[in-house]
Each structure stands twice: as C-alpha cells, then as structure tokens.
Amino acid sequence: MNNKIIVDCTTGAQVEEPLTDDEVAEREAAAANPPPEPVDRLAALEERVNAAAALAEQANATAQDVAQAMKPTR
C-alpha cells in the first residue's frame, strides 16, 4: 500500500504515484491505532442479564442453604 491514485476532475486523467514519507507514516500510525470496531450492544446486554440471573439463582440457593442450616434441630 505505497501508492495513491489521483483523478484530476478537470481533465478526467487518473495517475498513480507513491505515497510521501509523511503519508506512509500516517498510514502506519492509523494501522497501529485503528478506530473502534462496532459493538453488538444488544448481545452484550443479554450477556449481562444472563450473568445477573445466574448470580440471583446462586444467591437464592445460598439463602435457602442458610435458612436450612438455621432451622432449629430437635
């Protein structure tokens, strides 16, 4: 990726020429720090809800265990 295409809109002519050193450096910097990728927010939310439900289920089970343990024995 060391070239660039330029189309002169007054003549319609297309030329291809090498990138300048600054342009190469800029491309390399952009490649090293790419824009954020799109995030599927709905899937992420579903994952968090499912995790919360699992925690609630676990907490409920723990509460039942505690209640059972606290029952008076005869």
């Binding site: 295409i5 189309v7 809109c9 291809e16 800029e26």
Partner: protein, 235 residues
C-alpha cells in the same frame, strides 16, 4: 437533427410550415433532447421553442440534473483514491461505487477525507443491519470518517461493497458532512449480508475541492470503481 430542426424553424418563421407547426416542433424538440448532447447547445441546456420569437433556442435546464465529473478505478497497488480539482459549479456531489479491498478479513470499510485533511477533524456514526441484528457505533475526533462498507481478501469471489456517498452543498458556508449507504455480502449464510449507513462529519466550513477514499487496510482491487457526479439544484 439540429439542421432539420433549424430548417423547420425557418419555415415556421417564414410562414411556410405545415398546418400544425407547434406540434411538429414540439415533437422534434422531444426527439432532439433524447439524443446525445449536441455541440450547438451549452452544457446542461435543452432545446426549446420560443413561440414569441418564432425561433428554436437553447435554454438552461432548470430541472434537477446529474452530470458525471470523473471516474476512478482501483489498481491493486493503491489504498487511496482522490478526486482532485473538483469543479465548484454544482450544488451537491454524489459518488457511486463498488469496492473491494485486499486487506485482511472478509469485511472492511472505506474511509473518507476532504481536501487532504488528515487531522483529527472527523466524527462518524454507523448504523448496521444484518439478519435480525442491528448495531451502532461511533467515534469522534478521528483523522478520517468512515463512509462505506467493503469486502476484503477472504470474502468469496465477486463479492463487493456497493454504495452511494452523498455530499450536500459542498461549496456552502456550513460545516461539511457526507452520508454513505452501502450493501455488501461476505458469505452466503444468513447474517453475512450487511447494510451499513454511515454519517461522516468534517469540522470545517471550507469548500470541498477534493475527496479522498481510503482503504481501511490493504489496497483497492483493480475491479474497484468510483464515479463522481455533480448535481445541479434546478430552478
């Protein structure tokens, strides 16, 4: 054709035309305007019958009109395509294109810059749909805006990102923006056909004299093509 029209126009002027000259002239005008542009007319003009003067004349086409400005084709060796020296005589610009990149992955994106500005002056927003999934993404203060979806090296053969970029009022006094709508397919499974709607914002009021399309990774393949059109606003 113009010669015939001119001859009939002369007959009309001399009063030697057929009994129904108006309908004859109207038919000839319609036929002429469907022909390729004639050198007797200026750019954008249509042939019209001036009843009060009794002559045929070229008149400005007051209707919405689209004219092609230039075409750019990928070569497989360049990741940047720039339309330079854009005429400042239209109201809006439109780019229609089909793009594939040779960078990694099956799907990628084309970036946009105006007037060669690669500073952090761009914001972009994406809205994407594929199968039943809708997602959004955005970024601000970027060195380019995102503008079109494209396929990349591992996408099946003949799969391209096809889309349109609209750049409204590119010479006006306001902060400039572009809107890109694209569709691409990078496989045949459900969910591998995407539509993407991009908005790119440029923090500048400068008139746009050049538009650069930049591959996010790799180069534009040799079958990539972009056409730049100028849109006249009409009367």
């Amino acid at each position: 054709m113009v010669r015939e029209v001119d001859a009939i126009s002369e007959d009309i002027t001399l009063g030697t035309a057929s009994p129904d000259p108006e309908s004859t002239i109207e038919a000839l005008i319609k036929a002429h305007n469907n022909l390729p542009r004639d050198t007797d007319l200026s750019d954008g003009q249509l042939l019209s019958w001036n009843a009060s003067e009794g002559v045929l004349e070229g008149v400005d086409n007051g209707a919405y009109a689209v004219e092609k400005i230039a075409t750019a084709s990928g070569t497989g060796a360049s990741g940047t395509i720039t339309f330079a020296s854009i005429p400042q005589t239209y109201r809006h610009l439109q780019i229609v294109g089909s793009a594939r990149l040779d960078g990694a992955g099956a799907a990628s994106v084309v970036l946009l810059r105006f007037n060669g500005d690669s500073s952090a002056n761009y914001d972009w927003q994406l809205l994407r749909g594929n199968d039943t999934t809708v997602l959004a993404s955005a970024a601000v203060a970027q060195n380019a805006g995102r503008i079109l979806g494209a396929t990349a090296v591992t996408a099946p053969a003949n799969e391209y990102g096809n889309g349109t970029i609209d750049i409204p009022d590119y010479t006006g006094p306001q902060l400039k923006s572009a809107r890109g709508n694209s569709v691409y397919r990078y496989g045949t499974s459900v969910g591998e056909l995407r539509i993407e709607d991009f908005g790119a914002w440029w923090d500048s009021v400068a008139a746009i004299t050049s538009v650069s399309l930049v591959a996010n990774s790799g180069n534009f393949t040799s079958d990539t093509v972009f056409d730049l059109y100028g849109i006249k606003a009409g009367a």
